[in-house]
Symmetry: C2
Subunit: 449 residues, 2 copies
């Protein structure tokens, strides 16, 4: 069931044109907040701001969290100091630290004085973690309990804190020095005897992440252990925040995007494709393209070495793209399968040798099938000699291409590099060079024979 966003955008237009922002706000108020965010992103920014300011403060903060970063910054820059401070106070702590990092200095100074001291400290602390660390995506709004509280007392304090925290379904037990010593779910608290001590109810081996770890670490733990949130500690094992499952899902999505881009030989984009500028897109692509040009020089050099042969039998060139591409295609299939299997921990670096035999068998079958297809073509174009040359070449090229494609991700892993750097274009280029050598050597051998 999806909300028809175009319908609402259409209904908004006449209202905002007449300056009737209050009715416009009422029209969308009951929709889910992510949908309101999408509708507001699609209309004029000044009008979107006015419609949003017609909603209640808590809903404003939630909608704001669903806007794209660039839209957030633009919308914030048109708000009064008081409006911005009110918004900051109610936003999720992790999102407001993000926004803070994206504001100009003057905007920051407009916001900070309107906030309480504790909130200012909180923003400064969260905003200080480097991007891509767990610290940069954690929130400081969670429930902590003490080991000597009773289950009944704990439920009371959870009720009190509920309006201000991101999740009440998991609480964290800390000692007076903030060392994390346990965790307990709301489910277990509800089922427990109200007079039982937290110390005796809590789970003591807490899955935890470190603030300085890469942010994928928190996402991985949440996925592996099916938990709602993972607590984050600093180097002294003191609790400093939590990462919630929805933020982890965002990390997983953006990592998956980065992986796919690498597989397509595109560097990491700082923002989404639709928001990227021409120069930033140029920069993410030019590096690999130029590197690959120089890789292809080897293919060219191999060809130059065989110029006499080519001049003698020009029809060999007919099969050149077909044969070398087939090797590249088989190779990029193999590397695609391995890169993803390594990323999802389906296979591990130590499995390379075990998988080599399987790859050899699969690629032999593939090579034989393709040789059958191409031999007919070879016979038709150049007679029996050419048919023999292209068939033998095809089998060798597919096997060698597959082995290169499946081994490269393992080699990169061993070198502590990202296996996804074994992109289809890189594998294709390497297989092309090898393919040229195989082709003309086979041709020479068969013709001399």
């Amino acid at each position: 069931m999806d909300v028809d966003l175009d319908y609402y955008t259409g209904q908004l237009a006449p209202l905002t044109e007449k300056g009737n922002y209050e009715s416009a706000a009422t029209l969308v108020a009951d929709l889910p907040n992510p949908d309101i965010a999408e509708i507001l992103s699609a209309i004029d920014m000044d009008e979107a701001r006015r419609v949003m300011l017609g909603l209640d403060a808590k809903q404003q903060a939630s909608i704001f969290g669903y806007l794209r970063p660039a839209v957030q910054a633009e919308m914030a820059s048109g708000m009064s100091r008081r409006q911005l401070a009110a918004l900051f106070e109610l936003m999720d702590h992790d999102e407001r630290a993000d926004l803070y990092n994206r504001l100009s200095d003057s905007e920051r100074w407009a916001v900070l004085p309107g906030l309480a001291h504790a909130e200012r400290e909180d923003i400064r602390q969260l905003a200080s973690y480097p991007e891509d660390t767990v610290g940069s995506i954690m929130t400081s709004a969670y429930v902590t309990l003490r080991p000597d509280q009773t289950a009944g007392q704990a439920l009371d304090s959870i009720r009190l804190e509920a309006p201000d925290v991101e999740t009440i379904y998991q609480s964290y037990v800390v000692e007076s020095d903030r060392r994390l010593v346990g965790t307990i779910s709301l489910r277990d608290l509800l089922l427990a005897n109200p007079s039982a001590r937290i110390r005796n109810l809590m789970i003591k081996d807490v899955i935890r992440s470190h603030a300085s770890a890469p942010k994928t670490d928190a996402a991985r733990l949440i996925a592996r252990y099916d938990i709602l949130a993972v607590p984050v500690v600093n180097d002294d094992e003191q609790m400093v925040g939590i990462v919630t499952h929805d933020d982890a899902l965002d990390v997983t999505e953006s990592e998956s995007t980065a992986d796919q881009h690498r597989l397509g030989a595109v560097a990491r984009l700082a923002t989404s494709l639709s928001e990227s500028t021409i120069t930033s897109l140029y920069r993410t692509r030019v590096g690999w393209l130029v590197v690959l040009v120089f890789g292809n020089v080897f293919s060219g050099a191999s060809i130059a070495h065989f110029e006499d042969l080519i001049a003698r039998i020009v029809s060999l060139v007919f099969f050149l793209p077909l044969l070398i591409d087939s090797g590249g295609n088989a190779g990029s299939q193999s590397s695609t399968l391995m890169v993803r299997a390594l990323a999802t921990e389906d296979v591990h670096a130590k499995d390379w040798f075990r998988l080599l035999g399987k790859e050899l068998a699969v690629s032999l079958l593939l090579g034989l099938s393709m040789a059958a297809a191409v031999s007919v073509l070879g016979y038709w174009r150049g007679g029996m000699n050419i048919a023999i040359i292209v068939s033998i070449t095809m089998i060798l090229i597919v096997i060698v291409g597959s082995l290169i494609g499946m081994s490269l991700p393992f080699l990169l892993t061993r070198l502590k590099l990202d296996p996804a750097s074994a992109s289809a274009p890189l594998v294709t280029t390497i297989c092309d060079g090898t393919g040229v050598l195989i082709y003309f050597n086979v041709a020479n051998l068969v013709l001399n024979f």
Copy 2:
């Protein structure tokens, strides 16, 4: 913080060798269940089964849910009828329906009589939804409330049901005919006045999915609306189950794998790479490889058309792989970016024309950079004429390749096909054919001039 799994595997060996399965079970019992599942998967299956049967029944069921499907089936087939029935009774409802589908007929008949009538009906119902539908991944263990209950009564019934359901943090409000009319979070229930009616507390516009919808629909709703679970209804809007966030995350991961495989021109694997047989791997790869061979025949045919030119200036062949590969690489970069942007809804089918101008600008810049690099090489190999030919060709090839690569995913979307079918090998093959034509036509023109 990760558990050192190798350490535990090493500690288990001497215990299982001596047949001391009870101590072995005690050794791992306090670890998180996903870790126990991984440790048991790494040791002999018979021994793993005996270690597991030493744990308490509830933990057995949870660990079992984390085993890979093939391991589950193998382990289940070695259990007694009574053990299997006990396991079934405690497993998550969605997982046991999955397992049921994977058992042999005789194993099913061994299990079913040991279960209560309601459980049997539940399994039959869940197992009846086709794979890939929302119905196939939903669970029937959730809390339902009635609109005329009070918040206090609702909390009491949640406490009662807590041990048997997957989540108590979101409850669903149904009328007596099971029509879904609202939802309420445990958080709101805890904060509400205990005598308030659910009818007045619940959220009435419930995000919902349909049992017959593709399973990605449930995953998408959970990600978009940051919810813990999405309720599932049948065609009569009656509630039949929920899909929880952890099951949705599994769907997202496996879809991401399928997308990457398609981008590498590999068909969907029925199981993980490490469990795939040689013949199933062959089948997922051979189709595209053969199709691409015939695509490459066009490149070959273009080359045949220019055989006289090639025989006259054999050094043109030196640049052939380099130039056509550059077009293919630029094209697969563009298609990679577009496929992912379309999949994450960053861009939409209607944005094609708007993005075309940007692509043109980026690819012109890329073409100029690469022409600069390759012109030096051209001058060195074949003098001014060749330098001019390869520079002009490079610019045109990169622009045309990029435009093909960025347009193909849009075209596939328009044809209601999966844009990820615009795989790097397909784009490369199309760009290669176009590249050959551009190269030799430019060469002819420049040389005649």
